[in-house]
Structure formats: structure tokens, C-alpha cells
Symmetry: C2
Subunit: 392 residues, 2 copies
């Protein structure tokens, strides 16, 4: 176990009917004039908008709306949000939606009190010291942004996608009502499941030794996601299973599972470039990359992969040949992704071998500053091409 410094200040209000607490809770945190930030029309058709709006109105809050956040939230809309907040004297931001809406709200939050260009925070040119408080009403369990210190934003001017990770952007509170997820289409539900499961997998595969507690907490979360996934797909209004998935998505990314260890994150970096090419959903891209990455790197720690197979996927340990256990685990994970309707090969999303080299170059470039892709195994461009070949 390595030394760590952990704090997660986000308050989580979880359960049926909790969105009606929105207005009063904003007031507890000192909000009076709020920006209500959201995406497309889904929160209007599923009723979430009405409940949230009524709660804010009942609490006597002045509400300004800014909709239109798209997947991979854009800097132009963030600029617009910052301007609205400044000119309207807004002192609180509420994100209603999934990870993209929340990430956009976080960017507006740090942008408002900053004299410079908010993009500076995403290139590392500056660090945000303060933010307008941001709260969330989560409607898509996937990214974990409702309890995380992360925001990923795309600069339309050249389409650079960059992350900001810093304690100041933890939401002050997040409301999670599993009933809001009843109307998520199966494909989007499955993409969210793939995303949250991969958040745990990225943390699980570490070279740090003596991490028993966090290993087991990771396994607990992965098992819960895997066992509830088929239930929510077969029975979208199953409250118990939707609850397990929703809370698992937050536990997967609130950084408790990160304490004392260093995750890998190469699969996330590779996937970002797939999404950039053909707009495949993040979770779907991960379902393609992760098993290929596993197959490429498992020999660096066969025991850990065997442990994953045995404890998470109930593969019986082959004591004479743990490598067989490890490989069966990877196959089982791929079969799981397939079973929930995810693509598991690049051919399914029309990415051909000709583009592998340029994808690998771009992945290496994202992380120019640090110069590394992956921590479990540090990957070269050639390694990334091999992983993409395994994902054909």
C-alpha cells in the first residue's frame, strides 16, 4: 500500500423521491440565484425537469436555464454559461443529467470567478482555487462525475478533449434517484454499466502490492455491477437493481477504491481516441478495448488476473496453471460485455487496421507532458497498435 491523501466532501442524497429536496438543499448551501444546466430533452420527457423546477420554485430560488449540453461537453457552451452567471449574479449551479452535463457545470463553476480563459485549467496553464458551488441531479449512472473531482471538456476549436482533476470541483451535493433511470434505453444503460465497471477495472490492475482491502472493495463493486446488469436490462423498472447500479457507479469513482494504489488508465486513453474518430459511446469503446488490453498485458502479473477471474467472475482457480484461470477470466469479461449488448471488436464500429497507427500516435500525444500511457504496464505506440490488433 502506498501513502495517500483522500477526501471526498460530496454529500449524496439517495433514493426514491429525493429530487423534491433539491431547492431546500441548495438554500442550505447558500444558493439564491441558480443556473439550471442540462442536456437535451430527456429530462423534460421523463419528468425530472418538472420535479426539479418545482422544488427550486417552491424554495423561492431565482432560476436561469441553460440546456443543450452534448456528449463530450463543448467549451463554447461553457463560455456561454460563464457569461450568464456573471451577468446574472448567479451564485449556484445545478447540473441535471449525466457526466457530460456535470462536467460542463464544473467547468462553468471554476470559470466564473477566474479572470483568465477557463480552458487554461484544462491545459494545466492555471489551477482553479475557487468555484461557484455545483450540485447535481444524476440521471445517467456511468461516469461517476456526481461524486468525483474530475471534469472532461472538449475545445471545439480543434477538438481537443482534456481532463481537469482537482479537489475544488467536487460537487457540494448530488441527488441520486434510481427511478430517474427507468427510462434510459437499454444501449445507454449498458454503456453506463461498461463505463462504471471499467472505472473499477482501471483501479484494480495495479503494480502496487499489499492492497488487500481495496482489492476486495473493488471486487465487491464489480460483482455487484455484473450481477445487476442483466436484471436492469431485462426489467428496466426494477428499483432494487437500478439502485445497486446507480450507487455502484458512484462508489466506482469516488476514489475510495483508489486509496493506497495506482490505477492503470491506458484503456481510457485509448478509448478516447476511438470516440474521437467515430463518436462511439465511451462505454461501448471501453468494452472493445479493455479485454484486448487485458490479453496484451496479463503476463505481467498472471496472479492478479487469476485473482480477478476467480473472485469477480467465479472462474474456478486452476492451481496447476493459473494462466488458464487468467485467460478464462478475460474471456468471461468479454462475454459479459457481449451479453449486455456492447460491441467487443473494432470491426463492429468500423474502425479498420489502416487507422491503428494514427490512433496509437494520438494516444501517445494526449499525454505528452507525462510521457506515459498506462501504469500497470507503460505502453509504447507499438504496444498500442498490438492492443488494437487484438481488438480487431
Amino acid at each position: 500500500m502506498i501513502n495517500f491523501d483522500f477526501k471526498n466532501p460530496t454529500r449524496v442524497i439517495f433514493g426514491k423521491g429525493t429530487i423534491s429536496q433539491l431547492g431546500d438543499t441548495v438554500k442550505e448551501f447558500g444558493g439564491t440565484k441558480v443556473l439550471l444546466h442540462y442536456g437535451g430533452g430527456s429530462i423534460k420527457s421523463n419528468g425530472v425537469y418538472d420535479v426539479a423546477k418545482k422544488s427550486l420554485d417552491d424554495a423561492g430560488l431565482r432560476v436561469t436555464e441553460l440546456g443543450g449540453v452534448r456528449p463530450n461537453p463543448r467549451l463554447t457552451l461553457i463560455h456561454e454559461g460563464i457569461e450568464i452567471c456573471r451577468s446574472g449574479g448567479i451564485n449556484f449551479i445545478i447540473a441535471v443529467g449525466g457526466g457530460s452535463v456535470i462536467d460542463s457545470a464544473k467547468a462553468i463553476g471554476v470559470g466564473v470567478p477566474y479572470d483568465g480563459e477557463v480552458w487554461d485549467f484544462y491545459t494545466g496553464k492555471a489551477l482553479p482555487a475557487i468555484t461557484l458551488p455545483v450540485a447535481t441531479v444524476l440521471t445517467i449512472p456511468a461516469a461517476g462525475s456526481e461524486v468525483s473531482f474530475s471534469s472532461v471538456v472538449t475545445n471545439d476549436d480543434g477538438a481537443f478533449k482534456r481532463p481537469l482533476d482537482i479537489n475544488v470541483i467536487y460537487p457540494v451535493f448530488s441527488i441520486l434517484d434510481p427511478e430517474t433511470t427507468y427510462s434510459l434505453p437499454p444501449y445507454q444503460t449498458a454503456c453506463g454499466i461498461s463505463d462504471m465497471l471499467t472505472h473499477v477495472i482501471e483501479r484494480y490492475f495495479t503494480r502496487v502490492s499489499d492492497v488487500e482491502l481495496t482489492d476486495r472493495l473493488c471486487e465487491a463493486t464489480m460483482k455487484t455491477i455484473i450481477s445487476n446488469a442483466p436484471v436492469v436490462l431485462a426489467d428496466p423498472k426494477n428499483y432494487a437493481a437500478r439502485s445497486e447500479i446507480m450507487w455502484s457507479g458512484s462508489i466506482a469513482h469516488n476514489n475510495i477504491l483508489d486509496t493506497g494504489r495506482i490505477g492503470d488508465w491506458a484503456s481510457h486513453m485509448i478509448e478516447h481516441e476511438l470516440s474521437a474518430i467515430n463518436d462511439v459511446a465511451h462505454g461501448a469503446g471501453l468494452a472493445i478495448i479493455v479485454p484486448a488490453w487485458m490479453r496484451y498485458v496479463y503476463k505481467h502479473d498472471v496472479e492478479r488476473f487469476a485473482q480477478f477471474a476467480a473472485r469477480v467472475l467465479n472462474i474456478e482457480q486452476n492451481f496447476h496453471n493459473p494462466e488458464i484461470t487468467a485467460l478464462r477470466g478475460i474471456d468471461a469479461l468479454k462475454a459479459f460485455f457481449k451479453s449486455i449488448g456492447m460491441p467487443v471488436s473494432l470491426s463492429e464500429i468500423d474502425i479498420k487496421e489502416e487507422s491503428f497507427k494514427s490512433i496509437a500516435e494520438k494516444v501517445r500525444k494526449i499525454d505528452e507532458d507525462k510521457g506515459i500511457v498506462g501504469n500497470f504496464v507503460q505502453l509504447t505506440e507499438a504496444d498500442i497498435v498490438e492492443i488494437l490488433k487484438l481488438a480487431r
Copy 2:
């Protein structure tokens, strides 16, 4: 899963050598004049005091000391601490020690800005709205108070022991250096292990259904505690195992494992009365009561007890007769307590059958306001006597 509202704002700084960060971190939180609160001489003999004091001095902080906290922290010393803080203009409290020192510091923290008598907060006569910030340097992994919203204090005037549970008393930060636990004697180490394991057991046995994620997170924590306990007892300077135990003690009580469920807590209430009679250590008393409680209540949910046996203690499930699995799990837990040197019967601590009735009466009385003892099963006085008989 039931609705919940969860927030844990305590920052945890974990690992080797982290105590030297104490002074600078206090300054980050605005502390200038600090009360350094501790117990007996152990922090002086094991070197923790010197490192902490040097860090505070190096940071230019003005330090006033108050030692002498005993197990079951007393109101008289808390009064003294409040007076010292007020007269010295102290604006930050640091607890160096275990649960008793931390609980005492929390009481001083809420007492300083309160016009009335601090005991009011423990009787429910008043609720604290603010506190002086409290930080901790943990040296005894057991109570979990370093990351909890709880403080338990004893009023010397009549020896009433009362808890205060409220968000405002979460420590602002806690430093956990596993090396500080190397010098803990085996019995005290084992008592801490019993205490933290029981914190999870109390949460695990719930009547709330559909709590898969938190069940599995509880199991992960219990397995880690059980597997590392013999290691730290056999090899007290094993950093890896001491780390697992120390972080498990915090995870056991930071209330993540409580989300969406209602724990039982009858064993804790019964144990408090044993400690009151003959000063048995809390963890040791729990090792006696918990298996007896289990044997008395398991028929209310044989499946849950079988799950506990199978998943936590690796008992093979008897599919034809799950009750056998459940009972084997209880036996295995009792054997575990015995193996780490805990007493497992009341006769070992000289509590005789004559006193069972009066113990049961007192237990019922503690909780007069709510009128219940236990949530998994609500116990009557007669039930408590039967449990004590099973613990003979």
C-alpha cells in the same frame, strides 16, 4: 435499499512518515493556536509525541497541551479543555491517540463555542451547530472515531456514558501512520480488531433487503480484517498488515458501509454495560457478546447468516440445510475471536449469572428515549438475559 443522506468530509492522510505533515495541514485549515490533546504516556514513549510536536513547532503554531484522557473519556477533563481553549484563544484541537482521546477532543470542540453545559449535547437537550475544528493523529485502530461523526463521553457525576452522533463533529482531517501501531501490545491490538470487525457486523445484520453492494463491501472489509489479524499479532512490525488493519478500521466506521441499510447495534449496547461493571475493554466485551447474540437471533434470517458464513468465513454452503452453514459461521467467528486472544465467555471476565437481570435492565434503560434495543431483532429485557446466558 432504503433512502440515505451520506457525507463524510474528513480528509485522511495515510502512510509512513505522514505525521510530519501535521503542522502545515493545521495551518491550511486556519489553525494558529492549538490544543494538543492526548492520553497517557504511550505517545511519548513511542516517539509520536516528538514528531507531532516538532511539526507543530516548525509550522510556527502556538501549542497548549492537555494530556490525561482515560478510556471512557470523562466530562471533567472535557470541562478543563473547554476552559483552556476559551482562556487561551485556541482555535484548533488536535487529538493524538485512540478513540477516547478523539471523542474527548470532539466534546471540547463543540463545548467551546456553546454558552450552555456541553453535556446537554450528550443528553439530547441541545444540538451543536458549530465546533472548533478537530484533527486527529490516530495511534490505535479500533473505534473509527478518526473518520466518524460520533463521540462517546462519560459523565463522572453518576457515570453515565452517552453518545453524540452529528455531522458537525467529523474531524477536518486525520493522519494515520501504520508505523505508530507497531508498539501496541497484542491484547490491545486484538481488542481493536474485535471492535472494528464488530462495527461491520453490526451494520451487516440488517432487515433491509436489496443491499447487495453494501453487503459485499462489508464482506470485503470483514475478510480483510480477519485475514490480517493473525499477521499483525505474529509480526507486529509488518507494515502491510498493519496498514490493512488501520485502513479497515476507518472503512468500517466512516458510514459508507451504512448507506441504504439500518444496522443492529444491540451487541454494542449490551457490551457498554459489561464495561461499566468490570472495566473489560470494549473489544473484548464485544467478542463475548456478538457470537451469543448471533446464536440467539440467527433464526430470524438464516439465509443472511449462511451468507455471512459462506462469504466471510469460507464455510461451504450446505444447500440442503442452510441452518448448518449459519451455525458453523457463528462457531468460526467465535473461534476467530479466541484465536486472537479475546475472551469468549462471561465467566472469563468474572461476570456471573446473578447480575444478568440487572445488566439487562440497564441496557433497556440506556435507550429509554427510543425504547428499542436492536434493529435486526428488537430485544426485550428477557431476550437480553437469554443472550447473556448463551455467553456464560
